[in-house]
Symmetry: C2
Subunit: 210 residues, 2 copies
DNA sequence: GTTGTTATGGTACGAGTGTATCATCAAGGG
DNA sequence: CCCTTGATGATACACTCGTACCATAACAAC
């Protein structure tokens, strides 16, 4: 029973394969991202995908969690970058970071929005792919944004007549809606950013436009 | 070559089958709505589905268009109902009608939101199911809402400092985002309605809350 | 009454899917 | 040096899907 170090890093492999799933889903759609397709994209054999993820459901779930984790990391990195280059992350900056990162402005964020939407649609009817991670994550973000808004109100940066909870929901649903609007080509990323800036100016009248 | 009336109404049959597609998609998902599934749900044979829609792609497209048409009809009916019971459809009423109809508050609207989301996600990657009807429809609605907002500004019912175009985009993307938020169970229909009312009050300060 | 078109049923085929099975290297423990 | 265990390959098996094909009732036209 000697626990010997494996010759390969399982977690690294799983990440690599899950990443291939995400890439495939962004290109040909989540429904077309089969085991073989993912295996080819990852440059491994079908058997390997089976080995690291016993079943397809497990693969889908793992890829979804990884997608959420990557998004979260990018938001935090964006906030961190802001901290370094200036003031200590005002509520407005934090909220702007979340909203901007959710906007499909470059390939990475576009992939995120695309696959995220596909997962959402799939989990609406597929009971196995329970939306737990998606919804739970979104709720956490919503509460965090509402808290930031309350802090801004306490600091006098946001008018007291505005409702922090309703505004938080508004911002995030708008962000989601704008994301899909951009990927279907109905709006440009610039237009979407303009809408976001418009509401940020409304919420934080004292701040400069950008 | 005598054009004789057919023994069955083709359009009626097509509607019936397309409706079965929508019902199936709302329950088990659009990806699971195969020819056989739809045939069973419609109470006809597989061959009939093939007969009235030569290929699956045609069926999908027809059902999508029918879904959009039904939604449009319901919005118009709602506006018509308002006209009868009072004033001659103010811009605020028209906009409220659109936003409320897009909210999954009962089974019919829930089905619409559900299947609409599924179609949207599918068309993001499937080139055959080009998003033309979806996007085009949305763009028309967006322009109509913006026009209503401009009319309200001209009538003095909406503050002139607000941007009609950005507000129109905001309302509709918010509406879409709220819809998905409700069907995943993250928000209740009441909460979503509250958010909409909140923004309507902001845009039309003179109007009563309901 | 025959003939031809419309409308419907039954069924078979080929491609694709996820999963399971059998086989085989590589490597560390006794 | 063998032998157990981890890691990988190739392939087979059910099953489902969309589509195509063949057969045949019902009714209109001549």
């Amino acid at each position: 029973m000697g626990r010997v170090p494996r010759r390969v890093d399982h977690e690294e492999r799983r990440r690599h394969i899950a990443d291939a799933l995400v890439r495939t889903a962004a290109t040909r759609g989540l429904h077309a991202a089969g085991m073989r397709e993912v295996a080819t994209e990852a440059g491994v054999s079908l058997r390997l995908v089976q080995y690291y993820f016993g079943t397809k459901e497990e693969l889908l779930l793992a890829a979804m969690q990884q997608l959420a984790a990557q998004f979260s990391d990018r938001v935090l990195a964006r906030i961190q970058r802001m901290k370094e280059t200036g003031s200590p992350a005002s509520p407005r900056d934090v909220i702007a970071a979340v909203l901007t990162e959710a906007l499909p402005a470059d390939d990475e964020r576009r992939t995120f929005t695309l696959v995220y939407t596909a997962y959402l649609a799939l989990s609406l009817t597929d009971p196995a792919l329970a939306i737990s991670p998606l919804v739970r994550n979104s709720s956490v973000v919503r509460d965090a944004v509402a808290a930031q808004l309350r802090a801004a109100q306490a600091a006098g940066d946001m008018p007291g007549r505005l409702d922090p909870d309703l505004e938080a929901i508004s911002l995030l649903t708008m962000s989601a809606g704008l994301g899909t609007s951009v990927i279907v080509g109905q709006s440009s990323a610039g237009q979407a950013q303009a809408v976001i800036d418009y509401h940020l100016r409304r919420l934080f009248p004292a701040y400069p436009p950008a």
